[in-house]
């Protein structure tokens, strides 16, 4: 609950949010601005406390040092001590993680190389660009070989090349078996790596589940036929079909409910139906559909 100072008014920040992410999964935490993503992440990290309900992170209470020892965290709008250099900051975080000094230099150099900040290790952080700060944030998140990565907008402030590098890095981490929980607004990128999706809006859970299951349940079907007579175009369009003529085939996209009728029409016109498959929507389409539905019902 949010409560303004000197006010009795209480607004629910989050309500009925329930989800889980399994070990080794990449879980995308999505929602429009102000949906409550950062608040949820703050609760997971133990920075804020939920009024009711139960939260467990790696089997421990949020904020428990045993859990935090296994977590790498990148906050949104990352802030650092600007008078430190990257190497000094990482050394400080190693100390905070309780790691001994032995091998620290090698580890720091390796991490800075990984996030493409080598050569800048002795520059004060205050002189870093937004993108460099984000890379440094990722380096500190990876510092203590965490089992779980919680990344709030990891590609924010990065140029397209930088975003690709972060995605590659996340792919590598995924292949190493790390569990990644990330929030992002760049859905096509998220779709490339995530296994599970949690969508929230206005503090409420909209949908949660495995990505392939959520996207497979599309309401449209695509038929591919070798050719169709021109007189059939208007008949199909009347029935809500979209026709796309290619050099060797014709693609007809229709509502799943009308697929039988269309198939019979094509059959009667002696068209050769090559394939018929459900149209898989993109994560972006699915997200907009889910959030749009709530807009409509609100």
């Amino acid at each position: 609950m949010y409560q303004r100072r000197f006010s009795k008014e209480r607004l629910p920040a989050l309500s009925n949010i329930s989800f889980e992410a399994a070990t080794g999964e990449v879980c995308a935490f999505l929602g429009p601005n102000g949906a409550g993503k950062t608040t949820s992440i703050s609760i997971l990290m133990g920075f804020l406390f939920a009024d009711t309900g139960e939260v467990r992170v790696l089997g421990e209470q949020p904020g428990d040092v045993r859990a935090k020892a296994q977590i790498g965290f990148l906050p949104e709008n990352f802030a650092f001590y600007k008078y430190l250099t990257a190497a000094e900051l990482l050394r400080l975080h190693l100390a905070l993680a309780g790691t001994r000094d032995a091998g620290a230099d090698g580890l720091i150099a390796e991490l800075l190389l990984k996030v493409k900040l080598h050569g800048y290790e002795h520059l004060k952080i205050g002189k870093y660009s937004r993108g460099m700060m984000q890379r440094l944030g990722l380096a500190q998140a990876l510092l203590a070989n965490p089992q779980l990565l919680v990344l709030d907008e990891p590609t924010s402030g990065l140029d397209p090349a930088g975003r690709n590098e972060v995605l590659e890095l996340l792919h590598t981490l995924k292949s190493e078996g790390k569990t990644i929980f990330l929030s992002s607004h760049i859905l096509p990128e998220v779709e490339q790596i995530c296994d599970r999706v949690v969508i929230i809006d206005r503090g409420r859970l909209v949908r949660a589940g495995r990505l392939n299951e959520l996207l497979a349940g599309g309401s449209r079907v695509e038929m591919i036929v070798d050719a169709i007579p021109e007189y059939l175009d208007s008949v199909l369009i009347e029935r809500g079909a979209a026709i796309e003529r290619g050099p060797r085939e014709v693609r007809i996209t229709i509502d799943a409910a009308g697929k039988r009728e269309i198939a019979e029409l094509l059959w009667k016109a002696e068209c050769d139906v090559i394939s018929m498959n459900p149209v898989k929507s993109t994560l972006q389409e699915f997200f907009l559909q889910m959030v749009g539905q709530r807009e409509g019902t609100a």
Partner: protein, 266 residues
């Protein structure tokens, strides 16, 4: 290791804190201004009697050391309040607290960082005292630990109070309350005489407020001779343990208050 890392980082941040540097620059200007009458008294030594000159010098010395000592209390309070609030305002606390650091460890690191700053301040204050005594033609013959340890413990109390207040209030409010407490101490302390408040309220204030007078090194330093008054060691021990105990209670209260504090930006 974690607490040490936070303490050293806090000390480094405080040394770069523009507001604290501004305070210190102002402080140096005031000390230099206050030194001019001292130097004048010294230069007039031939035209006025020795006793009169010595009286001037000693009163100047007393004024400057009191000012330096009082400024230290404000510095301790501000540094403690600022050390925590700056982290929350800038959001740097999130990266720190995402590490396996307990909240009390974070507060303890901040507190010890402030004490490091105050140690530097006290050593500078100590050197200034000797410098002023030398300029005034006096010699401080006291045991050095008294003018170092007593102010340190006193500042530990003030910074612990500010640390406790900043876990609840805005840093400016927390800093503002500390001078109010100082005034209350002077009013309700052993030397304070107030007739307009009920006895029970007076007794309550007397019990709750720290007795910083007890922790004042000037109790042992007789400025007329600038030498240490003979005191039994148990007396020193009792006074210092009282101060440390008060600071510990304030710190524990701060840790308790901070344990469920939202770490969102102020």
């Amino acid at each position: 290791m974690k607490v040490r890392a936070i303490a050293l980082q806090t000390f480094g941040s405080l040394l770069r804190n523009k507001l604290i540097l501004l305070f210190l620059a102002g402080f140096v200007c005031v000390v230099l201004l206050m030194m001019s009458p001292l130097l004048m008294a010294k230069s007039m030594a031939g035209t006025i009697s020795v006793a009169q000159s010595q009286g001037w010098v000693l009163s100047m010395l007393s004024g400057i050391t009191s000012f330096v000592s009082g400024f230290g209390s404000l510095l301790a309070a501000w540094a403690a309040a600022d050390a925590v609030s700056t982290e929350m305002r800038s959001g740097t606390i999130l990266a720190v607290m995402a590490r396996p650091v307990r909240r009390w460890e974070f507060l303890l690191g901040k507190y010890l960082g402030v004490q490091l700053l105050m140690l530097v301040y006290v050593l500078a204050m100590f050197a200034l005292g000797y410098l002023l005594a030398w300029i005034g033609g006096q010699a401080i013959q006291s045991t050095p630990w008294v003018p170092i340890v007593y102010p340190l413990v006193r500042y530990a109390v003030y910074s612990a109070i500010a640390l406790l207040l900043v876990t609840v209030f805005h840093p400016v409010v927390s800093f503002g309350i500390v001078p109010v407490i100082s005034v209350l101490i002077s009013v309700f302390g052993p030397s304070g005489e107030v007739s307009f408040v009920p006895r029970w309220l007076h007794a309550a204030f007397y019990a709750v407020l720290p007795s910083t007078g007890l922790l004042s090194e000037t109790r042992f330093l007789s400025l007329t001779r600038a030498s240490l008054r003979p005191e039994p060691w148990t007396h020193h021990l009792t006074a210092l343990v009282y101060g440390l105990d008060y600071a510990l209670v304030c710190f524990l209260l701060a840790a308790w208050s901070f344990r469920k504090r939202s770490l969102s930006r102020l």
